[in-house]
């Protein structure tokens, strides 16, 4: 039996194609994935991401605990509402999950974790809590729904749907969050466009979804979310990194803070392990579609595609590939697709940001 979000009935009314996504019945598209992709790049779309889990960390010393738990340094969070993208590692340096940490008060940080990792994340965090900070409380917030409103017109349409949010969010920069009544409104997302991720009580979610719909925000499925995040150069847990790979070989070195004396779980391993692989972007030069697990041949050795698809914005196929260090931007490599070798160019991602092609 698949789990359903508070918006399931709305998706059915809209004739969404529903699929099993990490045990949740989620909309993959509402008709055309490519149209939904373009709506987010050009106007505003919304995604039901209620399968993701907000987890509140409560109590004195929450900051010190997080400085140990995650690879980025939460001391970068000094202003109320500030958010940080980071990975949570195990001792061997592999990635348990990637998450966003929001700083609200010294005794309240909110973490948002991936749906497919919820059970192991909670078990891992609980184990570390008992070991390092038994006085803290970890509260999973399954009582909350989560809606992402994304696109160049996201702000305008959010204010239309929720006029009271305007004064509080108008001057809010990316990677900040604010409480608007019962709603937790964050200027974050997974598309490379401006927009908000809004956490709100499950019961209120269908009404808020309807208000956004009336303000002209188009429902978009997780299919478009995947091509949007790929174009935006954003990693997907389980594909681009997992427990067998470190953030350093997954294009996530920028999320790891190795400076200073701070000790975090996995730090020793990251300092010790040789760095032999890197994540690069690929644009296919021949006709075809790059997909995860296709082999990549380079002068420096073999690699593998971790995420690949058709890019609606570029009208070409793009991918992330894990390849040996030594492969450089501008190199031409070969990708094996159904026994044929096709040519691809190595590029620096993101491929697209704020509607503009960058490669």
């Amino acid at each position: 039996m698949l789990k359903q979000t508070p918006l399931n009935a709305r998706h059915r009314e809209a004739h969404a194609k529903l699929v099993d996504f990490s045990g949740w019945e989620m909309p993959i598209h509402y008709g055309s994935q490519i149209e939904e992709h373009h709506v987010v790049r050009r106007e505003a779309g919304m995604f039901d991401v209620s399968h993701m889990l907000p987890v509140d960390l409560k109590g004195e010393g929450a900051r010190a605990f997080l400085r140990r738990l995650v690879a980025n340094d939460v001391d970068k969070l000094q202003h109320t509402g500030r958010a940080l993208y980071t990975c949570m590692l195990h001792e061997g340096g592999g990635v348990v999950d990637d998450l966003i940490v929001y700083f609200m008060t010294e005794s309240w940080f909110r973490l948002v974790v991936n749906a497919g990792c919820v059970d192991k994340d909670l078990a891992w965090m609980e184990e570390q809590r008992r070991r390092y900070a038994p006085e803290l409380e970890i509260k999973p917030r399954r009582d909350l729904a989560m809606i992402a409103v994304q696109g160049p017109k996201a702000a305008e349409r959010l204010w239309q749907a929720l006029p009271g949010s305007r004064s509080l969010t108008e001057r809010m920069k990316p990677f900040y969050a604010v409480l608007v009544g019962e709603m937790f409104v964050a200027r974050t997302g997974y598309t490379g466009e401006d927009g908000f991720e809004i956490m709100l009580p499950a019961k209120a979610a269908p009404f808020f979804w309807q208000a956004l719909l009336e303000a002209g925000v188009k429902p978009c499925g997780l299919g478009a979310r995947d091509t949007l995040r790929l174009e935006a150069g954003m990693n997907l847990y389980g594909q681009d990194m997992d427990e067998a790979t470190t953030p350093l070989e997954s294009g996530l070195a920028w999320t790891v803070d190795l400076t200073g004396e701070r000790d975090f779980i996995g730090k020793d391993a990251l300092l010790r392990l040789p760095r032999e692989r890197q994540l690069v972007g690929l644009v296919l030069l021949d006709r075809g579609v790059l997909r995860a697990h296709q082999k990549v041949f380079t002068p420096a050795g073999e690699g593998e595609i971790t995420s690949g698809s058709f890019s609606p914005t570029l009208d070409a196929s793009i991918a992330f590939a894990r390849v040996p260090v030594g492969v450089a931007v501008g190199d031409e490599v070969e990708v094996e697709i159904r026994d044929k070798r096709l040519r691809a160019r190595v590029v620096k991602y993101p491929f697209v940001r704020n509607g503009k092609v960058l490669v």
């Binding site: 194609k17 994935q33 299919g223 058709f310």
Partner: protein, 129 residues
């Protein structure tokens, strides 16, 4: 969308139309394109290639996934639809107009072994349960 009565169908979701010159046009069904979603790539067999019945001979890829297309009957490829190769979304727009390739069947009687519209309808319904 109703399943055209004048076509033949395979279990692997190809449709087959017998043309006046004795060749057959092959495409994928409306139901198949609905399962796959937005089409972005079509690879056809080369003209002149000889195919056995049921042989993998073409590929359609949507944003979501790649899917093989099989020869409905044995024969030789006599034409491919370049318009569909350069605009795969034509399959989404009208699957039964967007033929992919044409075959000259080795044996015209082989078409009798394919499903009619009612048979294909029954298969689609049974797959839905």
């Amino acid at each position: 969308m109703s399943i055209p009565a004048d076509l033949k169908y395979t279990q692997s979701h190809e449709w087959v139309r017998l043309e006046a010159d004795g060749t057959v046009s092959v495409g994928i069904t409306h139901h198949a394109q609905e399962l796959l979603g937005d089409m972005v790539f079509v690879e056809n067999p080369t003209v002149g290639r000889r195919l056995a019945a049921g042989q993998e001979c073409a590929v359609v890829e949507s944003v979501k996934a790649a899917s093989d297309v099989y020869a409905p009957v044995a024969g030789e490829v006599v034409a491919v639809n370049e318009a569909v190769e350069s605009a795969p979304e034509r399959i989404n727009q009208d699957a039964y107009a967007a033929w992919m390739f044409r075959l000259r069947p080795d044996n015209a009687a082989d078409l009798n072994g394919l499903m009619d519209a009612a048979g294909y309808q029954a298969q689609v319904e049974s797959e839905a349960h």
